[in-house]
């Protein structure tokens, strides 16, 4: 019997500022599954993440987002989070006057621990954080949320290979090994080598144009021919 989808997206079309950005997305993620979406800049990857989490800036004009068999199209972000969705932001904003330790306490009474994040706890959230520190701060917050599905929006951007390896190790230990499903959004795909998704999607101009089980094959093709080759599939 096939696993029931944890997240199911059906023919999703989304507009922002009267412009159609997502043009019919279909996606299904199962429990404990790791999937990836690769795509060039401006293909709509971040818009997809934000729409799944309910950012009011993006208007769903067609289609459905179903999480745990419930249509969540009209749910506010906080209720989606309570259901078990979580998003790690690519560029999280600074929260002046709010210490990370206090934010974590407000998210959850239970203490979350990541050794690498200790020195960030008494600093204001994301204020003057380095790229790597922002990613750790995001991971700490996501852990506090106790999610069922985590979407990582470009968690590997701006990091060198060593740092990507370190982040991937934390993700594996704290999320994958605990059976949490992942959707990894990435532009260059480096992190996939460490997290090994079971299914890799390629997104171009607001559409998923390709789905492959072998992520290495996708990475190899993109490395060799660039995303231009994927454009051919779209046409």
């Amino acid at each position: 019997m096939p696993n029931k989808a944890l997240l199911k997206i059906e023919d999703l079309k989304v507009k922002a500022n009267h412009q159609e950005i997502l043009r019919g997305i279909n996606l299904k993620i199962e429990k404990k599954q790791i999937q990836a979406i690769l795509g060039p800049n401006g293909s709509g990857k971040s818009v997809l993440c934000q729409t799944i989490l309910g950012n009011p800036k993006y208007k769903i004009v067609h289609g459905k987002i179903i999480f745990q068999e419930k249509n969540i199209n009209k749910l506010p972000p906080e209720k989606r989070v309570k259901l078990g969705l979580a998003l790690s932001w690519q560029n999280p904003p600074s929260l002046r006057g709010i210490k990370l330790v206090d934010l974590l306490k407000k998210i959850s009474q239970e203490k979350t621990k990541i050794e690498e994040g200790k020195h960030l706890l008494n600093r204001q959230v994301n204020l003057d954080f380095s790229g790597g520190e922002k990613k750790i701060s995001e991971l700490l917050q996501l852990l506090s949320l106790k999610p069922k599905l985590v979407i990582f929006d470009e968690i590997d951007s701006g990091l060198d290979l060593e740092k990507i390896k370190k982040i991937a190790k934390i993700i594996k230990k704290e999320f994958v090994d605990r059976g949490i499903s992942l959707l990894i959004i990435t532009h260059n795909g480096e992190i996939l080598k460490f997290l090994k998704p079971q299914l890799t999607n390629v997104m171009i101009k607001g559409k998923i144009v390709c789905q492959q089980k072998n992520f290495q094959k996708v990475l190899k093709t993109i490395k060799k021919y660039g995303y231009e080759k994927c454009q051919e599939c779209l046409s």
């Binding site: 934000q50 906080e78 932001w89 904003p93 929260l95 917050q141 949320l145």
Partner: protein, 323 residues
């Protein structure tokens, strides 16, 4: 006589650190409506009703503009090892407090003062007018926390002058936890040689009109003054702020005023003014007024907070930022 009611007011506010301290420490001066309920007696400190101080100590007359009817006189003669708690509360409907206060801190004395002004409940239509002078003699230090808890029908005016003698220092923070219908908050700090001050004013206005006027006069050489304001305009509110630093001698001053508009029907205006009368002085200022960032709001909602909770977090962060 210790008033149980007075303590219960504090205990209701467990979140506030200063109230936690009050549980263990004695209240130094407590006025309920127009009645003084408690005055601390201690060999190193003299506390009297202002009217009695006027009669007993003629030197106090130069600090009171006219014969006072209500208020406190506190004379800190020697170092004490506990903070002073002053409580000025209105408990009955339509009561008017008209206070004339005087606090004198002798040479080399360091003290922490916590003043709480409040109406006990809503619909009292309280009127609280406090006028005062605070004198810091040479090398004395005052750490002054001024808290307000008012309700939407109350009218409040607080007008204080701080005189800082040579080498003295004042750290003053004002915070309102709930706003009255009308608030006039005036503070003037006059600094002599080598004196320094650090003023922090944080206020949230909701269904309220507030006027906040602050002045720092750097009259003595090497005097220093920092004034920071964090103003939050919530529903149906108006905040008008005028802040001024004047440098008469070689000195340093900085004015930092930031406003945050949370609701559409609110207004904040701020006028920072620097007056430099010495070429050796250095005065700077920064001012900004903005709204709640949509990005921050959405970020916090994606961390599981309701919109109202996220706004509160942002507002609290703003009020604590750089203070």
């Amino acid at each position: 006589m210790v008033m149980k009611n007075a303590k219960s007011v504090y205990l209701d506010k467990k979140k506030i650190k200063s109230f936690e301290e009050i549980k263990q420490k004695e209240i130094s001066f407590f006025q309920r409506d127009n009645q003084i309920e408690k005055i601390l007696s201690n060999k190193d400190i003299l506390i009297l009703p202002s009217s009695l101080a006027w009669q007993k100590y003629s030197w106090t007359k130069k600090f009171f503009e006219k014969k006072p009817k209500e208020g406190y006189f506190i004379w800190l003669k020697k170092q004490i090892n506990f903070p002073l708690f002053i409580c000025l509360g209105i408990y009955s409907p339509q009561k008017k407090q008209n206070l004339n206060n005087l606090l004198v801190i002798e040479k080399n004395v360091k003290v922490k003062v916590i003043t709480n002004c409040y109406s006990q409940k809503s619909n009292l239509k309280a009127s609280h007018q406090a006028k005062g002078k605070i004198i810091l003699k040479e090398k004395s230090q005052l750490n002054y926390h001024h808290f307000h808890y008012w309700h939407s029908g109350d009218k409040v005016s607080s007008d204080y002058k701080f005189i800082l003698k040579n080498n003295s220092s004042l750290s003053y923070s004002y915070k309102n936890f709930s706003s009255p219908k009308e608030l006039l908050l005036k503070n003037l700090v006059y600094l002599e040689k080598d004196a320094s001050t650090d003023l922090k004013i944080t206020t949230q206005a909701e269904k309220s009109e507030m006027k906040i006027i602050d002045s720092i006069i750097l009259a003595g050489e090497n005097s220093q003054g920092i004034l920071k304001l964090r103003l939050v305009g919530k529903k149906d509110s108006q905040i008008e702020n005028q802040s001024e630093i004047t440098a008469k001698k070689q000195s340093k001053g900085h004015l930092d005023c930031q406003g945050l508009l949370v609701e559409k029907r609110s207004e904040i205006s701020t006028t920072p003014k620097l007056v430099c009368q010495s070429k050796e002085a250095q005065l700077t200022h920064e001012a900004s007024i903005g709204k709640v960032s949509e990005e921050e709001l959405n970020y916090l909602r994606q961390r599981g907070f309701k919109e109202s909770e996220a706004i509160n977090l942002i507002v609290n962060g703003f009020l604590q930022n750089d203070l």
